[in-house]
């Protein structure tokens, strides 16, 4: 085996010149400290299995994560269709019983939040982009990284298996509130919930392995000249989200363990005395609210875990395609970090009406609304980046604009809910459903789509078709907006969420038409995703090859030795970074972009403000 480690690619050690700083020929302004660490030693697989299956290259792992996550996303999408079928046209599909409906809702929610978005952003984009963007050869622990994906894969397999066990998957709602979760009367309270808990635990373990990689790569393996404040915001977003995940997932793990014990061996951590069908159950003395605290201590950071990478990525996309530096980079970084930190102090805003001590309401309402301030700064900076820019209105930019509209809309409805006494009438109604789909179900999905169109040429070397892309965008944006904008009004009239069927009450019957409309829009939006899939397949077969760095971007991933980048990313020598990634349209410069690797001596005549 040992021959595989031989110095085949020729970059096992940097030449002494790069190790000790730039040679005398270049002027002093180009000086960058010599490398602190020797080159990372990498494992180059040779067989099909080591190259594509148990692969240790972060880029391949990223794609594996991406594909697995998209698969779960499509399952989640199909489930949402089934739900909408029932809600819009009750009784039309006779096989959707109440049990099935609740199983669909639960699996839809859990899959979309955890297995789709979290895995896609951190596992998919994180793996692919972090090493490239910070100028590393790979993640710092490639082997652990590989294990991380396979752990995730097993978690997904276990999750999917729960569809086929007796009793079906759990139907407890994605929040899994006990005592109902593990009692009869809830679908899937036998094997279903057990597999769900096991799958979550596996996910957490797998994620921890990946997360350690992302964090250490960002902290300890940047290339020469790459300071923290020169990292693209994408890296900042994913990095901060990873920190959140490392600190929030423990609460999920603990609650999953405790609930498993309640279920399997009959402890009563979350179970008070319960009377069912005239019989007092064996449980007693536990606290259901404790679970809610643990769950939301995980759950609220979790929603920012999916939001922060989206914030980061969208900043980069906007900046590149508006040909303008991101406005207020420092503020953006501090906002990401601030939102991340604050998100650990707001969890009980999901519990205003849960029966916890009502005095907590004052504290959590205040912290929740404080979070709006850094978030608002990010929104302002995005639109101020557009301002006086030179905006390419291409598919990528359209997704970014769609993101801004939907995110601001969803964020504002978040303000309604955060303001404790406003939450009282709206909590547990469709207003909440509309809020979180706006802000989580479509805004980050828009960013994912934009990112796919943006980085597709990097990953495959081909440009996606723009016309199809525009059709895809408009169908998705208009469709999704018309699903969720009217849905808020269902919440106003008081329709509770998780209702299998709702037309008994006079004021609810008035919304039948709206529900049908929403369902139709949902079918349309789901179908529109096939445009993307078609586009991808078509492009892979016949698409036109992308020129190198097709968007004229500055960050390192576009300045690799080959495109798509090979294992080891940067060929013989690691790049040396001299500036932030946002030097677009610098006065006096020849092109409207200056890559991060361009040394100052080459652009002395320009008015670069930061380096």
């Amino acid at each position: 085996m040992s021959d595989e480690y031989e110095n085949k690619s020729g970059y096992q050690a940097q030449s002494s010149e790069t190790l000790t700083g730039s040679a005398g020929s270049t002027p002093d302004i180009d000086y960058v400290r010599p490398a602190e660490l020797p080159e990372q030693d990498l494992y180059h697989g040779h067989t099909f299995i080591t190259k594509w299956v148990f692969c240790q290259d972060a880029k391949v792992i990223g794609v594996q994560y991406f594909l697995t996550a998209v698969f779960t996303g499509i399952v989640g999408l199909i489930l949402s269709w089934l739900m909408r079928l029932q809600l819009g046209f009750p009784g039309l599909a006779g096989f959707i019983t109440a049990e099935h409906y609740y199983q669909f809702v639960t699996m839809h929610g859990m899959i979309m939040v955890v297995y789709f978005l979290t895995a896609l952003f951190l596992g998919g984009f994180g793996n692919y982009l972090i090493p490239l963007m910070v100028g590393a050869r790979d993640m710092v622990f490639p082997y652990v990284n590989m294990l991380s994906f396979w752990m995730f894969f097993v978690a997904v397999a276990v999750l999917m298996a729960s569809f086929f066990v007796p009793g079906g998957p759990t139907g407890a709602g994605w929040t899994l509130y006990p005592p109902q979760t593990i009692l009869e009367g809830t679908p899937g309270s036998g094997m279903g919930i057990l597999l769900m808990l096991v799958s979550l635990a596996l996910f957490v373990i797998g994620f921890t392995m990946g997360g350690l990689n992302y964090m250490i790569t960002v902290l300890q393996a940047r290339t020469r000249g790459m300071t923290l404040m020169r990292m693209p915001l994408t890296v900042w977003g994913i990095f901060t989200a990873t920190v959140l995940a490392m600190l929030a997932f423990p609460a999920l793990l603990v609650s999953a363990i405790m609930m498993t014990l309640d279920k399997v061996i009959g402890t009563s951590f979350f179970m008070p005395t319960i009377l069912k069908a005239g019989e007092v159950l064996e449980y007693g003395g536990g606290s259901p609210i404790l679970f809610q605290h643990l769950f939301w201590f995980f759950g609220h950071p979790e929603v920012y875990i999916v939001a922060l990478p989206a914030f980061g990525i969208v900043s980069d996309l906007i900046s590149v395609h508006a040909r303008k530096n991101i406005f207020g980079y420092r503020m953006m970084v501090w906002a990401i970090v601030g939102i991340g930190a604050l998100s650990f102090f707001v969890w009980a805003h999901h519990m205003y009406v849960s029966g916890m001590n009502p005095w907590f309401g004052f504290f959590f309402a205040t912290t929740t609304l404080i979070i709006a301030v850094p978030t608002a700064m990010k929104v302002y900076n995005w639109i101020l980046t557009l301002w006086r820019g030179n905006i390419r209105i291409n598919t990528v930019m359209l997704w970014c604009l769609g993101f801004i509209v939907t995110f601001v809309n969803g964020g504002i409805t978040g303000i309604f809910l955060g303001n404790v006494s406003v939450d009282v009438p709206l909590s547990d109604t469709y207003f909440v459903v509309a809020h979180f789909h706006m802000v989580m179900g479509i805004a980050p999905v828009m960013v994912i789509m934009g990112a796919v169109y943006h980085w597709f040429p990097l990953i495959t070397g081909r440009l996606l078709n723009e016309t199809l892309g525009k059709w895809h965008f408009w169908a998705t944006f208009l469709g999704a907006y018309s699903i969720y904008f009217p849905m808020h009004y269902l919440g106003f009239i008081g329709v509770p969420r998780r209702y299998y069927e709702m037309y008994d009450s006079p004021y609810m019957t008035s919304a039948v038409g709206m529900n049908e409309f929403i369902s139709l829009a949902a079918f349309l939006v789901g179908a529109a995703q096939f445009i993307l899939i078609f586009n991808i397949i078509k492009t892979l077969k016949t698409g036109k090859p992308a020129p190198k760095n097709p968007w004229k971007a500055n960050s390192l991933e576009w300045h690799t030795s080959t495109q798509p980048p090979e294992h080891g990313n940067f060929g013989e020598r690691l790049p040396v970074v001299h500036r932030w990634p946002y030097d677009f349209s610098v006065p006096g410069a020849k092109d409207d972009f200056i890559p991060q690797t361009t040394p100052p001596s080459e652009v002395v005549h320009t008015k670069v403000e930061k380096t």
Binding site: Y5, L37, L219, Q220, V254, G266, T267
Partner: protein, 237 residues
């Protein structure tokens, strides 16, 4: 550990030093091995796991209406015919703390490239850990024998048994994993995997280095520290 020398970069102590490390390129923690940084962050995450367990325990204990059993009676051990409160626990704690000591020494000898001493000390640590696990198994069986179960407890609140078995079980799993790795590492030290620039070991296919002993040591000390907290929460409260 020893202060590393980094070309073109001056390490400054204190807050300013921290700020300049943060503001610099390449690494945030100057001279810190990747694996070590990883272990620190993993331990931070693990701290959250144990904190959640202990907070749940406090909440559970605080809110059950049934009386909580008196720890010094439940955990007493007969020695020479007299029940001595907390005897076994004291022994367990002693063994674990001692193994922390041997671990620290192993790290020291590792950096001195003293293969023999290092190996023996790692082995000693492993045996200490194994003893601890053994004593814990004994304590569990004693309690089970007396009728304590995760779902019921003849001495009082059922939650006592639940939390006790869950938290000590989770900690015991940590110790057991540590013991397994200690044995593997002891073997690797003796086999010389960490000598002379390092050999490709099994498992991670990475080159070995004595720093790995220190990384394992961090984990081991952490497991110890957690035990101190569990000790305080279960046996002294």
């Amino acid at each position: 550990m020893s202060d590393p020398k980094i070309d073109g970069f001056e390490l400054k102590p204190g807050f300013r030093g921290m700020a300049s490390d943060t503001g610099s390129d390449q690494t945030m923690f100057k001279g810190v091995h990747w694996g070590k940084a990883m272990m620190w962050i993993f331990l931070l995450s693990d701290t959250f796991v144990f904190s959640c367990f202990l907070i749940a325990y406090m909440k559970g204990r605080g809110s059950t209406p049934v009386e909580w059993p008196n720890p010094s009676e439940v955990f007493a051990l007969e020695a020479f015919g007299v029940p001595v409160p907390l005897l076994l626990i004291a022994l367990m704690t002693f063994v674990l703390i001692t193994s922390s000591g041997t671990m620290a020494l192993a790290v020291k000898y590792g950096y001195e490239k003293n293969r023999k001493m290092c190996g023996w000390l790692v082995l000693a640590t492993a045996i200490g850990g194994l003893t601890f696990v053994g004593m814990q198994a004994y304590e569990w069986s004693k309690l089970i024998h007396e009728g304590v179960r995760p779902w019921e407890n003849p001495f009082g609140a059922a939650q006592f048994g639940s939390f006790f078995f869950m938290i000590t079980g989770f900690h015991g799993t940590h110790v057991s994993i540590g013991v397994i790795f200690l044995f593997i590492y002891a073997y690797k030290v003796f086999a010389g995997h960490y000598e002379n620039g390092g050999k490709r070991g099994w498992f991670t296919t990475m080159k070995g280095d004595y720093v790995e002993i220190e990384i394992l040591g961090l984990y081991w000390h952490f497991v110890d520290l957690v035990w101190v907290f569990i000790f305080a929460f279960f046996y002294l409260w």
